[in-house]
Symmetry: none
Subunit: 415 residues, 2 copies
């Protein structure tokens, strides 16, 4: 018997609250999505739990069987995983921006942030290298700093005296002073961690402000990347990799940094696809055909499609509808899959209603296609119809288990 | 952007098991409830969890987002909160009845209870004052005793040596001896608590039996309130107030003492309505119009309607149906609400089938009305139809989160 594979298509933020009596998804012409709904079993899903508004990060953790309430502690650890930093349980991780400060005096904390992206600096390799030489051993702390795309990066502090009870240093607005990290409780660990971060902030500013790369940028009239702004701090709660947890090889296909970070956090391989941008012009056909090929090598493949969410955030009903219709044309290629071998799930990570312009907890539609699923009467892929399907209402954390069961990869609990 | 409000209508015990093919609710003529069902999203709800028969107290805790398995330890703490006693975590609280004992000898435990309500005594203020002078300091214990309505009251014991592993002193039947509090485990705390309660029982009887109020009652041929019968003992598991937990101001409108107790336990304001009695002649119109006004000052308002439950306990199909029809006429006033501003939920705390004459775990119907809900095909408010709606089957503890999401008052978990 060949081992069956699981293909999970997550269309970020595809579902809505009704406008009048309809939604972008309900009103879109989607013959292929509807074909899949008609051949599958359908339902609605709370990716976290009813009424809890999911982030794309927390919901993806849940969709792969992790409890985000246990393992999620903010963006820092996810971004650090995404940047390729090897994480240990108890590490303290932050997202980092290169920014620009101006002002007199020595201390970085006396200076004002005039750009939180340092003029969208992108040549940060030498700056990262310089900063990496800062020595925090007097605090018993080590750190790893990695660049991300553009002005972005991630930093991880490690040591026995690390606490996550410290505040960010990013003021989150231009025109404000850089913030000192403050201990958020009375522990020695929080105090020492804050002291180490503040020392690091000063040293980084000193090194960066006089760095040849920045001197060169200044000559060209570009903003210096002379401060590191830390935010989204969280302690790493190390999880078993997906492969350790389920014995299955997992690949992520996504153009979105945050979702790549989730993938790395749970030990997925990230498959890059040319032109997979995470925006509405993304190479959907490329993602789907890459996924078909990846199913030869992997047990579980995620295809994450971002743009529907962006149209939701923009409140753009027509744009969202048109993107869904384009997606529907491109997804036709998946009709050729052999659903006796492959279990395909089409769903979303959360709703992003155009009326709310943000994520909501309204349940998402879910369709599961596989030989042997109990096909129901639902003939349309729509958040307004899916509740009538045979899955009724499920939770995100149960989805992977349902797929493992349907593909006969689940063990028996008991005799 | 104005903050949206939540109105929760809980019709105690409204749902049933079918008799023939119908129920009081299904067979009642309810054009207004049906109107709301048709404009909303519907489903069925397990207020605690499937198959768990809820009390009105535990189910109300769940409906406001509390886990009754964690915070509920019996009626004592709820009654004590309802009587206005300030509770601390670890206190031991009992419901108290003034009762009447007769018999020779000194000890209250040698005497028989001849009336568990002391002839429905109501003039208890002086008796409470007398008993409150009892000194338990030799046990390292303090207590607070408050009267309730009629023969009722509540008592709270506090101290380092308090344990809830002690038995009640109420024999629960007339003709039986007053029971000694017995330690229910081998701990010093349980032994000392039982000793203190038994000492209290003896002292209270001695003070009450010779109290002028009781001497006067005896002269008039009335039963003496000469014993305190303690039952429903439970240790206080202090919870965050609803306002601390959710940042929302909460009001309860109910004629029922137990539900007022739940309200006080979670820090709600109790709004009294003239003629709101908790029985079938209750002032329903007054409750609804009070609720409409209360929505100006509160974020979340509960209207609790008791009588359907009473008809269920009495096994009175026709009476229950007629009460539901009266309720339906009075609830018409809520059609004038602006459902773009107000999220209205109509549901129950549990079923009280006339065939069972007690609470059952059969799910209750739930309708949610608000701009943006995914209106479904359900056109009738009925426990026999609601499962076809877009909510499918939810749990009581999720309800408040769903309402917070729909009113855009929920935060996002993750990014």
């Amino acid at each position: 018997m060949t081992l069956k594979k699981i293909l999970l298509i997550v269309i970020d933020g595809i579902s809505d609250r009704p406008v009048g009596n309809t939604t972008p998804l309900e009103s879109a012409d989607t013959p292929n999505l509807d074909y899949f709904a008609g051949k599958g079993i359908n339902g609605i899903m709370d990716t976290i739990s009813p009424g809890i508004r999911p982030g794309s990060d927390t919901s993806h953790l849940a969709l792969f069987g992790y409890n985000p309430f246990e393992c999620y502690s903010g963006r820092g650890p996810i971004e650090a995983a995404g940047a390729g930093i090897e994480l240990k349980h108890g590490d303290l991780a932050f997202r980092v921006n290169f920014g620009t400060v101006e002002g007199n005096g020595e201390s970085v904390f006396e200076k004002k942030v005039i750009d939180r992206r340092a003029g969208r600096i992108s040549d940060t390799d030498a700056l990262v290298e310089a900063v990496s030489k800062i020595d925090l051993s007097r605090f018993g702390i080590e750190f790893t700093f990695r660049r991300g795309s553009g002005h972005r990066g991630a930093i991880v502090f490690r040591g026995k005296m690390i606490s996550d009870r410290v505040s960010d240093t990013d003021p989150k607005e231009t025109g404000k002073n850089v913030k000192k990290a403050k201990p958020l409780d009375d522990s020695d660990k929080a105090r020492i961690t804050a002291e180490a971060i503040n020392y690091f902030m000063e040293e980084a500013h000193r090194l960066l402000d006089s760095h040849p790369v920045n001197i060169e940028r200044e000559k060209k009239g570009l903003l210096k990347g002379n401060v590191l702004l830390l935010r989204g701090g969280g302690v790493v709660r190390k999880v078993q990799s997906f492969e350790e947890k389920f014995g299955l090889k997992l690949a992520f296909i996504t153009g979105t940094t945050l979702i790549k970070g989730i993938g790395r956090f749970i030990g997925a391989d990230i498959i890059e696809v040319e032109g997979a941008t995470g925006n509405s012009r993304t190479n959907l056909r490329g993602k789907f055909s890459t996924a078909i090929r990846a199913l030869d090598r992997y047990d579980v493949v995620l295809v994450h499609i971002k743009a529907a969410d962006e149209f939701g955030h923009d409140g753009d009903f027509e744009g969202k509808k048109r993107f869904i219709e384009r997606l529907d044309r491109e997804i036709e290629i998946l009709r050729e899959l052999d659903f006796s071998e492959i279990c395909m799930i089409i769903t979303a990570d959360h709703s992003t209603p155009v009326t709310v312009r943000d994520h909501t907890a309204d349940p998402v539609p879910v369709t599961i296609l596989h030989d042997g699923v109990r096909v129901d009467d639902v003939k349309k892929f729509s958040e307004l119809k899916a509740y009538k399907g045979g899955l009724c209402r499920i939770r995100g954390r149960d989805l992977i288990h349902i797929a493992l069961d349907l593909t006969n990869r689940a063990g028996k609990f008991g005799a």
